[in-house]
């Protein structure tokens, strides 16, 4: 499976190494080459310096027809743009955008984008830790990925 990851933060680097470890072809993109220090020195994927919201950069990274696309930069809006480019211009099969603002995450989930919302997930986890009822919003955002794509991704690996 061919995966494109935009944003080489802790999450991006972590999932890139996990995918490479299970034998997938991974290209990770970041605007800063120092971000690639988060990758292990023997990282077997490709790392490209560039703006992942720029269609030319994504094309060069091989986004066209990729199997998987994760938009994981620190900017919600950059992730929204990159994810929609991947889905609508480059016909990537499975696209996930990290959106930390719960309002925006819910809005884009209802527009059919797979959103993962760190805020909603952490609030949900902490509420459960306290024995309170979980956050239905976090559940919904998470299950969108689970139902539609999670099974297929694990199956492909």
């Amino acid at each position: 499976m061919r995966a494109i990851i935009v944003g080489c933060g802790r999450t991006g680097a972590g999932i890139a190494e996990a995918l490479v470890g299970s034998g997938h072809e991974v290209t990770i993109i970041d605007v800063s080459s120092t971000a690639f220090r988060r990758l292990r020195p023997d990282f077997a994927g490709s790392a490209i310096r560039g703006d992942g919201t720029d269609g030319d950069v994504l094309r060069r990274a091989g986004a066209q027809g990729a199997d998987l696309f994760f938009a994981l930069t620190e900017g919600d809006n950059r992730n929204v743009l990159a994810a929609q480019l991947a889905r609508d211009v480059f016909a990537v099969k499975r696209v996930v955008a990290k959106i930390n603002d719960p309002v925006r995450a819910e809005a884009y989930t209802s527009l059919g984008l797979n959103c993962i919302c760190r805020t909603a997930m952490m609030v949900d986890a902490l509420k459960r830790f306290l024995g309170m009822e979980g956050d239905p919003h976090a559940q919904r955002v998470w299950e969108t990925i689970g139902e539609r794509d999670k099974a297929k991704v694990t199956e492909a690996s």
């Binding site: 720029d54 743009l81 603002d101």
Partner: protein, 227 residues
């Protein structure tokens, strides 16, 4: 009309001033407190120091009753999100986004933004009118961008050379109506024969422009190589 402008850079500031002068109700949203204070000294209480990308902030600024939302921040991705939130979350009938990367223009329209404005695109068009090109020049948009006025420069390689206007099998939704030959404007008649050097002006639906380009200019060099 109630117009919400997001981003108080130079574009947002001058746009707001002009809209106010034309008698519209306007709010200007700016997330940077310093810049917001600076423009509100001039424009008054219509300046709101909030983040136009935040759903709650858009709502408190009155997005629910806005007729138009104009997103003119310096970041294409922010302008996209502002317009999409306005359209889908607040049912704003018309949204306008500034794009700096001209390649984002078409994508943003496909993603539901009503109008896209691009200084980069306009500057390109102004330059390209003076140099030979192998693509349609986009002169003006009508009907929120569904129809465009385009110009095709006929070269010696154009398939249309030596053909009468009536012989051209133009797609539906395309009319060629004028040409510029030796700097003189002429109306195209059925017996007008196209010559190298002509600049043909056409009205065309955006979805038929590939056909128009192929017919009047020919395959672009890049496509020809790939094919």
């Amino acid at each position: 009309m109630f117009i919400m402008v997001v981003g108080a850079g130079r574009v947002g500031y001058y746009l707001t001033k002009e809209l106010l002068a034309s008698g519209h109700e306007v709010v200007l949203i700016e997330k940077d407190p310093g810049r917001a204070a600076q423009v509100s000294a001039d424009l008054g209480s219509i300046v709101i120091n909030r983040d136009g990308c935040e759903g709650r902030d858009l709502e408190s600024a009155g997005a629910n009753r806005a007729d138009i939302v104009v997103a003119v921040t310096g970041d294409d991705e922010d302008n996209l999100v502002i317009c999409q939130m306005a359209k889908h979350h607040f049912n704003v009938p018309r949204t306008i986004a500034r794009v700096d990367n001209p390649k984002n223009g078409e994508l943003f329209r496909e993603l539901g933004v009503s109008d896209v404005i691009s200084a980069t695109r306009n500057a390109l068009a102004a330059i390209e009118q003076d140099i030979p090109v192998h693509e349609l020049l986009h002169l003006a948009q009508l009907q929120h961008g569904d129809i465009e006025v385009v110009e095709a420069q006929i070269t010696e390689d154009s398939p249309a050379v030596g053909q009468f206007a009536r012989q051209l099998s133009l797609p539906d939704g395309c009319i060629i109506f004028a040409l510029i030959r030796n700097d003189v404007l002429e109306v195209i008649r059925s017996d007008t024969m196209l010559q190298p050097g002509d600049k043909v002006v056409a009205l065309s639906r955006t979805d038929t422009q590939d056909d128009v380009q192929r017919l009047l200019i020919g395959e672009s060099p890049v496509e020809a190589v790939e094919a």
